[in-house]
Amino acid sequence: MGHFLIRRVFWAIFLFFVATVVTYLIFFVIPSNPAKTIAGRNADSTDVARVARFYHLNVSVWQQYWIFLWNIIRHGSLGRSYISRQSVRWLIGQEAPVTASLVFGGAVFWLSLSVPIGILSALRPRSLMDRASMTFVLIGISAHPVWIGLILSYVVGYRLHVTPIAGYCNFFTGGEAVQCSGPLQWAYHMILPWITFMVLFAALYVRLIRANVMETMSEDYVRTARAKGASERRVMVQHVLRNSMLPVVTILGMDIGLALGGALFTESIFNLPGLGAQILRSYSVFDLPVIAGVICFATMAVITFNFVVDCAYAFLDPRIRLS
């Protein structure tokens, strides 16, 4: 286990470097001149040079990368936006909870739908529900989050007035700038985004869980349990479920990273001030510090989450834990 931890930590550091180096390189490979963009149209070369100095844009890519790293190590700082001049760390601190609400809430939604349906359709293969869930899968996999989001907010929010059309409320109350806050309002505003996520992912998970449960049910040890005289219910609960959930946990770990991608669109559609919407905006104005900061943070988040998932996996599967 200790070995496993150390390996994971080194892997995390390596991934962090790869992600940030690639981000930096991409931005320097793309022909753009941030100093000039910031300095504006009338700027002469001394103006541009002044802006470049101000933002450390006058040194080589590698020096800029080094400054970026050094700021992280020395000051815990991710720099500041070229555009709004806000500290990137502060921005992320503001936006990460929104994205986390979306992704984890969405995960809870899609799991609470797909686990029961997945198991039921595994128990009754080829039944009506099994076939219905297959149709659901196809729709979920084929549809784009923007489309799902727009349809949901139009129908449920605008036509039926059941939920808000869009918008976000802070979970914690307080703050004058906040129009609405509190857990209830927060959840009320998050329902549609969560459902969007649910539609995107639940379908896949239904099939994944169905396949896993069916595969596990044909395992030798399940037959052993039956041969011991265990009831079907007991076989399911004690022997099939935990084993069939192992791959689901792994996939879930990977999909949380993928979900950050889905957050990009879902956040934009539902006016959620999260990391995904931020990165879309920053990309459109080549705000490198924000993009690098968010990617850096997202990388760490995904690595951390994968680590948590690995630990969960180890907890669930003694073969990993004890070897």
Binding site: N243, L246, P318, R319
Partner: protein, 340 residues
């Protein structure tokens, strides 16, 4: 009255390609304390026969006919609860692959205790003690510590001992051992067989030994069923079978048996593949591989016929008595010659 009496048992599976007749018309009896060997290649229906006996085939896609009478209880069509009462308590089962037959995420002790607790109104502590006793009995060293290990921390032979302990933990009247040694190396095989023999003496249980290895049967069994293509092709007392095998498939099996102290370079083998159960050849299922095949073999299934050599000895073959005797005698001579 026999402890277990199976009559004309058939099991078919519905698949996308059609109906597979895995077992058809199998009948046999088993008395208390006896050992029945069941021999056949993969796909001969030997495992399915006993999964059917145990009620472990999926009812949704199978068709079962015939009768299984266990100590006065009819098991075909019995209620699930009734079957569960018998499974694990009165009939224990040991499976072929100890690597996959234990739940990888549950401790050994948990899995053994489950078997106890399912059938006995005892405390967990008592169940645990029973589990440790059984582990000791199957010769697992430091059983009181190893009981908290997970299956992957055991070697294959050790796991099979755990499986045996699990099958025996409720003192069953019958233990069905489905190729218990196939997945193990030769040394371990011998140890396991020795262990099973000892346990049978101690627990006075009947054993059904499913195997493709006549050698194992010779060591353990009283009676032998030879299965081919889902049917019993020969059944006899074990000594009788080795002395007077009546049909070509059994000859083939005996010929492929490795014999100690022989100097043959290479063992005989039965040419060809086991028959497709989905589209079995017409007539005798063995006819495509039989070196003595006749026209009638391709048309008609031979009846299960009483042998002249013993009262409980039956076989299926169209060859006439004289021909069979002649061929068998020459085969036997060749085999003993090699042995010499």
């Amino acid at each position: 009255m026999a402890l277990l009496e199976v009559n004309d048992l058939s099991t078919s599976f519905r698949t996308d390609d059609g109906v597979v007749k895995a077992v058809s018309g199998v009948s046999f009896k088993l008395d208390r304390g006896e050992t029945l060997g069941v021999v056949g290649e993969s796909g001969s229906g030997k495992s399915v026969t006993f999964l059917t006996v145990m009620g472990l085939v999926d009812k949704r896609n199978s068709i079962i006919a015939g009768s299984v009478n266990f100590d006065g209880h009819e098991l075909v069509g019995a209620k699930a609860s009734q079957l569960r009462e018998i499974r694990g308590r009165r009939i224990g089962m040991i499976f072929q692959d100890p690597m996959t037959s234990l739940n990888p995420v549950k401790r050994i002790g948990w899995q053994l205790q489950e078997a106890v607790l399912l059938h006995n109104d005892v405390t967990k502590a008592e169940a645990r003690k029973r589990a440790i006793d059984l582990l000791k009995e199957v010769e697992i060293p430091r059983a009181d510590q190893r009981i908290d290990d997970y299956p992957h921390q055991f070697s294959g032979g050790m796991r099979q001992r755990v499986m045996i302990a699990m099958a025996l933990i409720n003192n069953p009247e019958i233990v069905i051992a489905d190729e218990p040694t196939t997945a193990l190396d030769v040394t371990t095989q011998a140890q396991i067989l020795k262990l099973m023999r000892r346990l049978q003496d101690q627990h006075h249980m009947a054993i059904i030994m499913i195997t493709h290895d006549l050698g194992v049967v010779a060591e353990l069994s009283n009676d032998v069923l030879v299965m081919y293509g889902g049917k019993v092709v020969e059944q006899a007392n074990v000594d009788d079978l080795f002395a007077n095998a009546e049909m070509p498939y059994t000859w083939g099996l005996l010929g492929s048996l490795p014999r100690p102290n022989t100097n043959v370079e290479r063992l005989d083998q039965i040419p060809g593949q086991p028959p497709s159960l989905l589209r079995p050849p017409p007539g005798c299922a063995f006819n495509p591989r039989c070196e003595y095949v006749m026209d009638v073999c391709r048309r008609e299934l031979p009846e299960l016929t009483q042998s002249a050599h013993g009262e409980g000895h039956f076989f299926r073959c169209h060859l006439d008595d004289a021909t069979r005797t002649r061929i068998w005698q020459s085969k036997k001579a060749a085999l003993s010659e090699e042995a010499a």
